[in-house]
């Protein structure tokens, strides 16, 4: 036993592994670096090392830029509180009671609710731009009740990062398109898809 223990000690002393056992109080570096994202959550760092995808994907255009999303139709001023927002084509009973504004011509460009989950329905013109910042391998095309959909899948198995966008109607015939979106629902993709169908008022 003594020989074995001595061997172990000898190996531990002479074969220095990359990560050594160190006393907890005597190894502070002389220059303490601030914590960064990469150091506090390795998974985030790994995910962000992949380049964000920018380009066409199915019926969508993924911009890879959080500030570059689909355009809204023009909204004449002044803005005013909407009285009959429940008759708007961007309203869904899933949204419940809301405070909604409308443009001077009565147009309601979009209705959003924030919380559990954040979601909404909005008009768009031009390409169906999606402002996600994610690598291509986290983007998944599908359909929801026959409508084109795109999901941003969570990293690893983290459900909180799931997002889904469905094109309920393409722009055309002087009508803007309609997009349904769900943001970080903490639901599975199947459950999120079912919720999107419910917002559109159709069966999944």
């Amino acid at each position: 036993v003594v020989v074995a223990a001595a061997s172990v000690v000898a190996i531990a002393l002479f074969v220095r592994p990359p990560f050594q056992v160190r006393p907890s109080v005597t190894t502070l570096p002389t220059k303490q670096q601030p914590l960064s994202l990469e150091t506090t959550n390795p998974a985030m760092a790994v995910g962000q090392a992949k380049p964000a995808y920018r380009g066409t994907l199915g019926d969508f255009f993924v911009t890879g830029n959080a500030h570059e999303g689909a355009d809204f139709p023009p909204c004449p001023r002044p803005i005013r509180p909407a009285q009959n927002y429940k008759t708007s084509e961007v309203y869904s009973p899933v949204f419940g009671e809301l405070e909604v504004n409308e443009c001077a011509n009565g147009l309601i460009p979009g209705i959003s609710v924030y919380g559990r989950p954040s979601m909404g329905k909005r008009l768009f013109v031009g390409p169906a731009k999606v402002n996600w910042v994610a690598p291509l391998d986290r983007l998944k095309l599908s359909t929801v009740a026959g409508h084109p959909a795109i999901a941003k899948l969570p990293e690893s198995d983290e459900p909180g990062e799931l997002e889904l966008v469905v094109i309920q109607r393409f722009p055309g015939n002087n009508k803007p398109g309609i997009m349904v979106w769900i943001h970080r629902p903490w639901l599975s993709l199947e459950e999120t898809t079912a919720l999107a169908a419910k917002i559109m008022g159709v069966r999944p």
């Binding site: 531990a12 109080v25 570096p29 994202l37 924030y114 954040s118 909005r122 903490w186």
Partner: protein
Amino acid sequence: MRRMVLLITVACCGLSLVFSNRPQMVMAQTQRSDTIYFLGATRGNDYNATGVLSWCVSKSWHPGYQLPDRTLDPWLSALDEVAQVAPPPPGDPGSWTGTQFYNSCHSDPLGPSGRVDLTTYGVTNQSNCGSPCNSLIVVGSSSTYIDRCQYIEADLWDAGAWDATHQVGHWRGTQIMTHAQAPNATGAPFPLSPIQVTTTGFYARNEIGTIKDDSPCLGGTGWTGYHVHHAFKPPVTQNCSWARNTLGGFVRQATDRKKGPLNTAHWVHLLNHPFGVFCDDVGKKAADDLLDPGTGALDGDGNGGGTKGLAQGPPGYKITTPQTCFPMTSWCGTMDITQPVLQGALCYNRGMLPIHCFNSWQRRFPPPGGGVTEWHSGATYYYQVTYSHAWPYGGDNFDRCGVPVPLGSPIYRIRLYSSQSIGNTCNNPALFLDFTQEFANNSYTATEVQAIFERFRGAGGVNPSVPPSPQDANTWAVTQIDSGHWWDVVQPALDGVIRGARDQRDMATLGITGNPAFDGNPGPTTYSGASVFDRMNTVASRTTGPRLISRPPKEINSDWIRSTRLTWGPARKTLEMVPN
């Protein structure tokens, strides 16, 4: 029978405490209670050179978000805030034109008044917090919704239960600041400074972002000028409570709202929380509901019919309860119950304390700053984990299992007494441990702590690192119920383990999830569909690198099958499990 089990348990625990020479966790006499006041999110402006930041209300209390039942924020938790740049015009707030108000109150997106802060004033009843103590861990995120509205969110987590390795704990609410952006606006979570408290009150202002031109928000209908829309999503209430400031000082166009160490009366939201304790007694409430002899979903017909159905159901089978409300709490919803609750019951039936079933299966780590987490504790054999420090080195570090160790990773110490020699963990002689290990100065990464635990064995060679197999648990439940032992065997085991659940994470380990989540907010430990073991490894691999142990489930389960009866431990101090 239940009384007898209780008596034996009490006697054993008492004896164990008397004879054990190991350090025991001693509960404080008074539960630490922290109160955090959240002040204005807009930076404000020292317009009158008094040294105090002033701000104004551009829109009084209004809905901030939607509730799970699709009703709009019934507490009207949102306030629109701007900086004050000049004395108020003559007259009363609410009577001024938009231009008059703007001349006194507006935020400059390019100047200091356009900054967005997480400003807090924290007080605790803990007398040893003369110097600031961490109360809440804050995780931020910022991006733009598909409706093109920009936001910053700050998730608040109890610092007393924060598992830094798994990045999970007790959710305490979310501060929402829309029409603003943080420097990191990709939507990915990022750490912010913890919120601290002192006995006499601690004021802190942390800049987290800036206001933005949010004119694209909802096609122009969601934004009417530079401001911060400041809302609060609260946690479930019972042990926690929260409030918005209703003193009447936040009417539309209110001016001279103050922010400063001596000007804390103008707080916007308030949160009171018990340090380290979940916001409601979820285990007790769920046990009372699920095992009610008349209506409980796990009882069903007074003889365990619900439980038997769960045990005999196909893979993925779940029971969904009717809508219910936990008494004395704000939680109302439905619960999904899945098979792992039977694995938990069998663990309890085998003599384990629920806390050890939970801690070991979750690989729960203590929070930074202190505390001991026991993953196993018998009369003789034990495995304890304490937090040591944050890894202070940058560069390419790898631990002795070959897993990267980035700067800031939590480092732990372990104290153990195993019935079998641990040997070379990860096949690395530098990670050799024999039967015992004192805390000493040796430190380990989270991956190493978990890998060593896989090799730890309790009395009789039992491996506490894996749950009983689903098959064993199902067979046990059905056999016991069919032989007339619902009331004296299965029901007490279910009651014991569910009642022993401390928080949402424990409930998720039992395969019981709430809809909405038990903490009031959907979180990473609440989703259904993942088994206890899958979930554990998923989380571990996400935060500490690739899975180290990839043993097939059959082999893992076999470690548990052999230990099914109770006997007196070697030191005759408590019950222990031995192989048949």
